[in-house]
């Protein structure tokens, strides 16, 4: 039997306010195998950790139980203290009596009893724990960045500049993401494309960045340091020989809506998304093309002098290895046809924020003149509505989309710069302008550009002649408001891209309640996921503006560079062991293992574990009919003993 030390943390009043720690210590001190038991105010403090080190030496302990907060927080702290005391770090285990006990119960007696049960269980676990050494695994010194919007671009550039190879995968035909669609950016009114395109060019020229557009991740295997990712590259039907002459577009008979202009213009089946697209190549949209197989219209191929059209291109699959992955898949706008009272689907002159960006953009359909879609007239009265689908838990999304306050202020301001005699109205719930120079920017919109802010919601939008009638309420004046507008711009909620949900499943990273990707800790590990080696950047995690997105892209890349700088990584040694004398070679475990960590040694007729591949889930241990497969430090015997003493 081990000589255990049990340390109960008061955590100030976080634990001691609910659990009678003195009673716990009185009882646990007499529990078999416990040679030392005490409570202390803050075990995680330096003196607290020192207590563990000292007790190990003074009382010759060989097992440590710390009853405190969740092991996700301080397991490592106390395991290193245990190591400093001269023991193997796996002699230390955490009894979670805060998150799963003191914080969730009010009845002090019952919480105390529960805490004792939890501690008794963990003591029994420690009694049967064995000393383990971390398993060392080599690191593949390459990174994968998924998504090439501004966050993915920043992340890829930073990783590549740190000296590591990067594969940047983008689903669309060009990189740049939503930022390429924007006109000017708040709060400086920098031209969005002007500041983004140098970064896009840098990506395309960087010797350590390999770019794959029209590509998506279809399968992910492996683990931190050694991911094995399969990528599908969709055919572009245009080869690298394309010299951008544009002759193909002139002859293409097929027309569809231009996604880049968010449906405000049309494009041909063969097209380039925008002039600065990277890679600078045309692309043939096979869904719009008259047909590739077996009948072809052939017009673009005939028009192409350099023979860059290849109708026989097929999807390509390639599997590559990476040490780390950054997920930067960005956002989409909420489908506002879900809000029929705003008439987005019904009236051409009700548009969303990104459409207005295109109208303002010098490269947009109107070359930067503000003209409304229905008749091309310059609108004299424009109504902007914020929180469309956001902050509406009953009907739409409960969260704040964060960027709309600022971009609506910018939209109204830019509109006034284009049409000084026009009037801009903004319907708002609150103005959230927390950010460097943001409040000043909003003040400039209201004071210098005379944008009229009306606090209240809009209940109905309908057409009357050439006007779009907006019915709302001004809650400050306590009056109904009716505006005959020429154009209405909706600041639509930001949602994660639908493909991100599928991707998250492939990567086995969790999502939060609104399907935004979940960080490992909302405050202290905001760029990490719970899956080691996979990091987050940009709006796939939560609505974010450009500065935050870029900062997180850089943050993720510094995490990646840190990880790749090591020659080997350590892998948890709590993996499965096969007791050879009990294994009868049935092979059930081999088929069950998702990591192919188990193989059958046909000669000896037993299963063999590859420690490096085993992730320690223990599913094979539960399936083994002879009990030969055992998870280290969570064996069947341990669980049986824990159950006996906990109950």
């Amino acid at each position: 039997m081990k000589r255990n030390g049990v340390f109960v943390c008061n955590c100030g009043v976080n634990i001691a306010g609910t659990v009678y720690v003195d009673k716990v210590v009185d009882e646990i001190a007499h529990y078999p195998s416990v040679k030392h038991c005490e409570f202390y105010d803050y075990m995680c403090s330096d003196p607290g950790q020192k207590k563990i080190e000292d007790a190990i030496k003074e009382k010759n302990l060989d097992g440590i139980i710390v009853a405190c907060c969740s092991p996700t927080l301080h397991e490592e702290t106390f395991r290193s203290a245990t190591e400093r005391g001269g023991l193997n770090k796996y002699s230390c285990e955490i009894a979670n009596i805060r998150e799963q006990c003191s914080w969730v119960h009010k009845d002090r007696e019952k919480a105390t009893e529960k805490a004792k049960s939890i501690i008794r269980g963990i003591i029994e676990k420690v009694n049967l724990n064995e000393d383990l050494d971390p398993i060392k695994v080599p690191v593949t010194k390459r990174a994968l960045v998924i998504g090439a919007g501004v966050s993915g671009i920043q992340s890829a550039l930073d990783i590549a500049d740190s000296g590591y190879e990067v594969l940047l995968v983008e689903k669309s035909p060009t990189i740049g993401g939503h930022m390429a669609q924007l006109s000017e950016t708040f709060p400086t009114l920098d031209c969005s494309q002007c500041i983004l395109t140098p970064k896009m060019v840098a990506v395309s020229r960087h010797p350590r960045i390999k770019l794959m557009t029209m590509s998506e991740v279809v399968d992910v295997k492996g683990y931190v340091g050694n991911f094995q990712v399969t990528i599908k590259e969709h055919p572009r039907y245009v080869t690298d020989d394309c010299n951008l002459c544009g002759d193909c577009v002139k002859v293409c008979p097929q027309v569809t809506v231009n996604e880049f202009d968010r449906g405000l213009t049309l494009r041909r089946a063969i097209y380039i998304p925008f002039p600065q697209a990277v890679p600078a190549k045309y692309v043939l949209d096979d869904q719009t093309c008259l047909g590739l197989n077996p009948l072809r219209c052939d017009k673009c191929e005939k028009a192409c002098d350099v023979g860059a059209i290849d109708y026989d291109m097929q999807p390509k699959f390639l599997t590559e290895h990476f040490g780390s992955i950054v997920v930067a898949t960005g956002y989409d706008l909420y489908d506002i046809s879900q809000i029929p009272e705003y008439g987005y689907d019904t009236y051409e002159d009700v548009i969303d924020g990104l459409q207005f960006e295109r109208l303002l953009s010098a490269s947009g359909p109107t070359k930067g003149e503000v003209r409304r879609p229905s008749d091309g007239k310059v609108p004299k009265e424009v109504v902007f509505i914020k929180c469309v689908g956001s902050r509406d838990p009953e009907s739409h999304h409960p969260y704040c989309s964060k960027i709309c306050c600022m971009y609506t202020g910018k939209h109204a301001m830019l509109y006034k710069h284009h049409v000084p005699e026009g009037q801009a109205y903004v319907f708002y719930m609150d103005i959230r302008s927390a950010g460097k120079d943001y409040e000043e920017f909003i003040q400039r919109a209201t004071e210098e550009d005379r944008v009229m802010y009306i606090r209240g919601r809009v209940s109905k939008i309908y057409r009357e002649g050439e006007k779009i009638m907006v019915w709302g309420v001004d809650t400050i004046a306590g009056k109904k408001v009716e505006i005959a507008a020429d154009l209405v711009v909706l600041a639509t909620a930001i949602v994660p891209r639908e493909e991100t949900i599928e991707l998250a499943k492939k990567l086995r990273i969790p999502m939060g309640p609104n399907n935004f990707l979940k960080e490992a800790h909302p405050k202290l590990r905001p760029v990490e996921t719970l899956s080691a080696g996979i990091y987050l950047a940009g709006a796939a995690q939560a609505p974010k503006d450009i500065p935050e997105t870029v900062a997180q892209g850089s943050g993720a890349s510094s995490k990646v560079a840190g990880l790749l700088s090591a020659d080997e990584l350590t892998h948890e040694p709590t993996v499965v062991r096969i007791k050879v004398e009990e294994c009868n070679g049935c092979g059930i475990c081999v088929n069950i293992c998702p990591y192919e960590a188990l193989t059958l040694d046909k000669e000896k007729g037993v299963a063999v574990v590859n420690d490096v591949l085993c992730e320690g889930c223990g599913t094979c241990a539960a399936a083994c009919p002879s009990g030969a497969s055992q998870l280290r430090n969570l064996t069947d015997a341990q669980i049986a003993k824990m159950l006996k003493e906990m109950l």
Binding site: S70, P71, T72, N96, R98, E99, Q100, C101, W103, V104, H105, K106, D107, K110, A111, E113, K114, S117, I118, G121, K505, R508, P510, M511, G512, P513, K518, L530, S531, T574, I592, P594, E615, G616, C617, G618, T619, A621, A622, A623, L631, L634, D636, I639, A640, M642, L643, K644, M646, L647
Partner: protein, 142 residues
């Protein structure tokens, strides 16, 4: 006589349900204190024998909670778990233990509120069944 308070063991997977339980704690949500948690790496680690062992040791009920099907941190551990538990429920019924004494739920890391509801529901339903005495009655509780 005081009201019967069931003793229940919960096997929680590390990645989803234990994290969900932690979130419930961080959010200071309150739930019934009858359930003693055991953290396992995956719901797939839970051998049906653990459930029987818990009942034999005097638990009135057992809960296993893991990631939602399709969201398993270990790809498909919870799928294996689900299959095993369907059969286990039948076995329990067959040997005369009410199948509601063994419950399975899927709670993700972001579902703190759901976790509290699961616990309260399990406690309520096991409480309604009264103490679990099957093993004692047939004398195999030792």
């Amino acid at each position: 006589m005081s009201e019967f308070e069931p003793k229940i063991v919960a096997f929680l997977c590390k990645w989803c349900s234990s994290a969900g339980a932690d979130l419930a704690g961080v959010s200071r949500l309150e739930y019934k204190p009858n359930v003693i948690p055991i953290r396992v790496m995956c719901s797939g680690r839970v051998d049906p024998l653990f459930v029987l062992k818990a009942l034999k040791e005097g638990a009135d009920g057992v809960l296993v909670s893991g990631c939602h099907p399709g969201d398993c941190h270990y790809v498909q551990g919870n799928m294996f778990a689900r299959r095993r538990f369907i059969i286990l429920k039948k076995l329990l019924e067959f040997v005369g233990i009410h199948p509601d004494r063994f419950q399975v739920s899927w709670v993700s890391a972001s579902e703190g509120t759901k976790f509290t509801k699961v616990i309260d529901d399990v406690v309520e339903s096991v409480k309604a069944l009264g103490p679990q005495t099957k093993f004692k009655k047939v004398g195999i509780d030792e």
